[in-house]
Symmetry: C2
Subunit: 250 residues, 2 copies
């Protein structure tokens, strides 16, 4: 296993693709996620093909650089890890990966590649045999037929995601930053004092639980400093118009 940083983006190998439009759409999907190296093994239609160009949007560079091969063997010769995408059950003892699992393993190699079969039939058994592992995209069993370019897209997306350090959830707070616990405490105190004055806490016994529940609401919101100021202003604004306290709990 090598460092992910040295791994090159996967090569996409389309085996006997039937529709040039799908080659173009695959090139676009590749480019969206930073893949640029496309190889074609015996495409059905002539190559280059303007129908591919029409579907590639701004990814025509990927098509221009695409390499043609007569055999799958030649197309994968320089690759160190080859993944075969297939929807069909294979009677062969070979690891089956999710696209996510394949992305992790692709990044562990130096020169990974993904095989995609013809639109109608998929890869033949002997073509799958050329790969170290099988990738199965978890589609709905009742509607499993994924378009060629969509299969490329899912694999390319997973490869890119596997290389990001981005957290699955982030909260960008701009220049202000999250409020400190002290700032939150001041907001809570301000709000609770005004609620106390307004008779919100029916009884002294109920108050601690009501306070906890209120604080939980604001705590979940991950308030910024600026938002704490905004809320304090809002409390002040609400209480300024208060004429006569309606009652007191204590």
């Amino acid at each position: 296993m090598t460092e992910g940083g040295r791994s090159r983006p996967p090569v996409v190998i389309l085996v006997r693709p039937q529709m040039p439009e799908n080659i173009g759409a695959a090139a676009r999907a590749m480019r969206n996620f930073g893949l640029t190296e496309l190889r074609l093994v015996r495409p059905r239609e002539r190559w280059p093909n303007e129908k591919a160009v029409s579907m590639a949007a701004n990814a025509v560079g990927v098509l221009d650089d695409a390499r043609l091969f007569d055999t799958l063997e030649a197309a994968v010769g320089d690759l160190d890890r080859v993944f075969a995408t297939t929807a069909r059950e294979r009677h062969i003892v070979k690891p089956i990966l999710t696209p996510r699992g394949a992305a992790v393993e692709a990044r562990a190699g130096l020169r990974p590649g993904y095989l995609f079969g013809p639109e109608r039939t998929g890869l033949e058994a002997e073509e799958v045999a050329a790969a170290q592992a099988i990738v199965e995209i978890p589609t709905d069993p009742d509607y499993a037929s994924l378009n060629l370019a969509q299969a490329v897209l899912v694999c390319a997306y997973e490869w890119r995601l596997a290389g990001t350090t981005r957290p699955d959830r982030a909260l960008p707070t701009g220049e202000h930053g999250l409020a400190s616990q002290a700032e939150l405490g001041s907001l809570y105190e301000h709000l609770e004092n005004e609620l106390q004055a307004g008779g919100f806490f029916r009884t002294a016994a109920q108050k601690p639980t009501m306070v906890q529940n209120l604080r939980a609401i604001f705590s979940r919101a991950d308030l910024t400093e600026q938002e704490v100021r905004t809320l304090r202003g809002a409390v002040k604004s609400l209480t300024t118009r208060r004429k006569i306290p309606k009652g007191r709990a204590d």
Copy 2:
């Protein structure tokens, strides 16, 4: 947070979609991953639209059931979690999720929905404001413009993957199962005895390391019982034709 099992598949809400073809392709992408509920907020072209049908393949049922809305507010009214997909930076303090993070949170809700903006401009700031969180698909910054249906595909794929129990790597071994350590030990012993007889181990001192390295090769292959038998047959076959041992290490 509710149990994932009770969560319904996300509703896909296309806000002011421009191209009916993209609506059809989005329906197909949805259907591939088990999503069926499509809502359209003020599509640019008339609806229903045969251009959408032509791109939906066998997912025309999703189009037939699609609901039209005049406002985004009405389209999301019954949903408990709404995610806005956008590629643009927003000056708003709102969680930013990867498609993976969104899928996990979607499954924690009962009635999740994803918003997708118009092809050319994306969602407006006030439309993003209608969502609890933003979803950013990690595209290549130099080529970030993802097709509408492709954005739907990535979100739908992640939602489905988040609900599978499938491991990222599995090895289906059929009826035979993996070989036991004892079976592997017999194979190793057989092989090493024959190698010893053939003079493969140059010196007694080198033998332990060479044995370890050989065993590591077969160990990594996760052999099945059947494969162990095959390899033992192969060793036997190789040694049957051996005429004269060429040398001995000990």
